[in-house]
Symmetry: C2
Subunit: 334 residues, 2 copies
């Protein structure tokens, strides 16, 4: 593949895109790559039979569609190159993460995509590096770890979500993000602050909450928040589990969305599951996190790249019916 | 565990429930089991370090939350008994299924839960039986294969979904189910027929369709159906992917749900994802498919049961806003 790239005068990634028929490649470039493949008599690697042609994907929550979309994207690339993918679920638990990393070493898997629990995962991942097992971080950076990475522009997307609320006239906006040992939670909070600061609205730390991003999160802290005299008129939430639990709780308290309170969230990336969804949400290209991550992994396995590459992808924001201007007479209260 | 069960005079499954703190056990029975455990100095197996204490889950579509819930249920039991779970995705493809079965043999996994592609999977699974690797079928029976099984009462649930439509006054009801090489699709169709026959409504074969149950299904066949002079007033669908694609298509054709056409479906089992859902749907206890399947697998691994066990679980039906009486003047037309 490196030879084809050289012959065609393009990057390995471009050759990979042509071979996989994925991602955009200019028609003229595609022609050049196909011509080079023919000249060099290059055939994309077919399926192989060795049990060690295996990749692993480690995710923190298998029941979150965001992560299974990453799996689909990874698999589609893996398959085309003769690799199979095993998936392991850490439940946001460092000890389980460590076990699965150990199994990757025991089973001699060829490479991994990892959505790490958070910064403390660096110790688990160091063992992969020691054994020279290539891995790519997905979705979550790790402070101080210079590794291949595919993630979303979470800070920027968070800023845009909060700006949507500001544009509607909200000024008291609460933020709920995940645990701050995960970079993806810190970036959400940074984006929230960016939006407020840009409009010269003071950041009220009493409106900032951290809560699990998991299916079993407890949203009861919302009760106290909405009963405060200076209750927010809008909420910025970290993911669809937080959205579902908090929306349910708000409805149980007799509040209507968006009439009484507006809600924005990071979405679940699943445009099918959301055929009925009311949530104004950021839709991250999770499939591409997996497919591009797999392509970075391929480059490492083929030894054609030695220095870490960072890929940061843009998210769309779907404006639906969970957001509206604040109730009359409230907008300026805060 | 067998000794504890014998001493307490209960089944292995009951002991397993107590050990795992899952499922319902009468307080008096629980006491008996705990007493027997103490008398026999029995400690639940802790985590082990051998890389072969691994179970595999093979599912046909990792992006369908129904299957990831099975994974969660399986994992919770596996963990408590010191096993780890790898997940593999076959994409409803027999060849991929065969590869993953081969890898299970190569890697010497201790046991599997398998949602098979369909009846033709029996050849793949026969290789597990030959090598005496225990496995449990989940969700889909295989004709002629007498194996441990955990599934839903799909035929009965389908009948109840269609009866809900009949009770509202619908008589022309179309059915869309998955490929008929899967028992779970045949059972859906049987339940549909049961409901009609029970009300002496003739089954119109031209209202029965098979379509993929996958994320990339093509719902364009619906156009011709709703444009027929004898168009149905209601649809019975196989899963949430079919629901999402078909509802989208109906809306694109200018039809309102449920004013113009009612829709019932098998649901995605995810009560959180469906916080905004409008679908009247059957909610299958997918988590329990995984946890009970794992308990059957444990019994096989521990050698305490030699004959196949079938567990068939009941589904709930959530009546939401995708169903209503047929448009005036149409109900009796069919």
């Amino acid at each position: 593949m490196a030879d084809v790239a050289k012959r065609a005068g393009v990057s390995i990634m471009t050759v990979s895109r042509v071979v996989n028929n994925s991602g955009y490649v200019k028609p003229a470039t595609r022609q050049k790559v196909l011509a080079a493949m023919q000249e060099l008599n290059y055939l994309p690697k077919g399926r192989q039979s060795s049990p060690h042609d295996t990749w692993m994907l480690i995710v923190p929550d298998i029941t979150n569609p965001f992560f299974t979309f990453i799996a689909r994207g990874m698999e589609d690339v893996a398959r085309k190159h003769g690799f199979r993918v095993f998936i392991a679920n850490t439940d946001e638990d460092l000890e389980k993460e460590q076990e699965y990393v150990q199994m990757c070493l025991d089973y001699q898997v060829r490479g991994l995509l990892v959505v790490p629990v958070g910064d403390p995962s660096s110790e688990n991942l160091a063992r992969l590096a020691e054994q020279q097992v290539p891995f790519v971080l997905i979705d979550r950076e790790i402070e101080g770890l210079d590794a291949d990475l595919v993630k979303g522009d979470i800070r920027e997307t968070s800023r845009r979500l909060v700006e949507h609320l500001l544009d509607l006239g909200h000024e008291r906006i609460a933020a709920v993000v995940g645990p701050l040992h995960s970079a993806s939670s810190r970036e959400r909070l940074d984006g929230y602050r960016d939006a407020l600061v840009h409009r010269s609205i003071p950041v009220d730390e009493s409106l900032i909450f951290t809560a699990p991003m998991t299916r079993d999160m407890d949203a009861s802290f919302i009760d106290g928040l909405v009963e405060r005299p200076d209750a927010p008129t809008a909420l910025f939430l970290g993911n669809m589990f937080q959205y579902a639990h908090i929306v349910r709780r708000l409805r149980a308290l007799g509040l209507s969305i968006p009439q009484d309170i507006s809600v924005v969230s990071f979405g679940n990336t699943d445009d099918l599951a959301s055929v009925d969804s009311l949530a104004t949400a950021a839709i991250q290209p999770a499939y591409n996190y997996g497919s591009l991550g797999a392509q970075l992994l391929l480059e490492r396995i083929e030894g054609v790249r030695k220095t870490p590459t960072r890929i940061v992808l843009h998210s769309e924001i779907a404006v639906r019916s969970s957001t509206a201007p604040p109730p009359a007479g409230i907008a300026k209260k805060g």
